[in-house]
């Protein structure tokens, strides 16, 4: 199955042409996960970017009490995660855990993605601009959540 129709619905790729989306599609591999599968853990080395085709992924942070995690957001269809690795190359800032059976992800290797962005700087500029907008959108959600009493 081609991933291009899904990529057209991912806002981090908003503005790319059909041929540019094909180039991105060549980097993607499919991954299926089920409830409680850990996709990556906080502080792991990071090398991949993920796009959710179907299902839900919970992003969690470890808190002071040992063995305790705090859920910070649930991500669904069309959302990306692991994108901070693409930008800053640091370790994972949070953990990602699958919370629905049959969650379908598309995974791209960071180095391959950066290489594509450098070869085709139009892709690079568009994707980086969209990733900045996506991070901003997530920050706005966190701000709105903090305003909620309770």
């Amino acid at each position: 199955m081609s991933v291009v129709p899904l990529l057209k619905k991912a806002d981090i790729l908003n503005g790319l042409s059909g041929s540019q989306l094909e180039k991105v599609a060549e980097l993607c591999r499919e991954q299926i996960c089920n409830v409680d599968d850990i996709i990556f853990k906080e502080n792991d080395a990071s090398s991949e970017l993920y796009l959710i085709q179907d299902g839900l992924v919970e992003i969690t942070l470890s808190v002071a009490e040992p063995g305790t995690e705090k859920s910070i957001v649930t991500l669904g269809k069309g959302q990306i995660f692991g994108e901070m690795a693409l930008v800053d190359e640091g370790p994972r800032s949070a953990s990602a855990r699958c919370i629905t059976d049959g969650t379908r992800l598309w995974v791209a290797n960071r180095a391959d993605f950066i290489s594509l962005c450098e070869k085709d700087t139009s892709i690079g500029f568009t994707v980086m601009k969209n990733i900045a907008a996506d991070l901003s959108f997530k920050l706005r959600l966190i701000n709105l959540t903090r305003k909620e009493p309770g």
């Binding site: 957001v73 069309g78 907008a133 959108f137 706005r140 959600l141 709105l144 009493p149």
Partner: protein, 65 residues
Amino acid sequence: MIYKVSFVVQGGGHPGAIQNMEKRPEKGDRVELGNKLYEIVEVLEIIPSRGEFGYLHATCRPVEK
């Protein structure tokens, strides 16, 4: 148009969620986040739409399934 929607649940019992929707969510719609059901009580456009994407924020309250 694809709507990228951030959901905040009233009362703080849920961390919030983001997902894409192909239909614009409206007040009174019900949405499932994980295995729980919520009703949308307010929808705001938080940033202007860009290209084929609209960016919305929905406030929800838990309801029984």
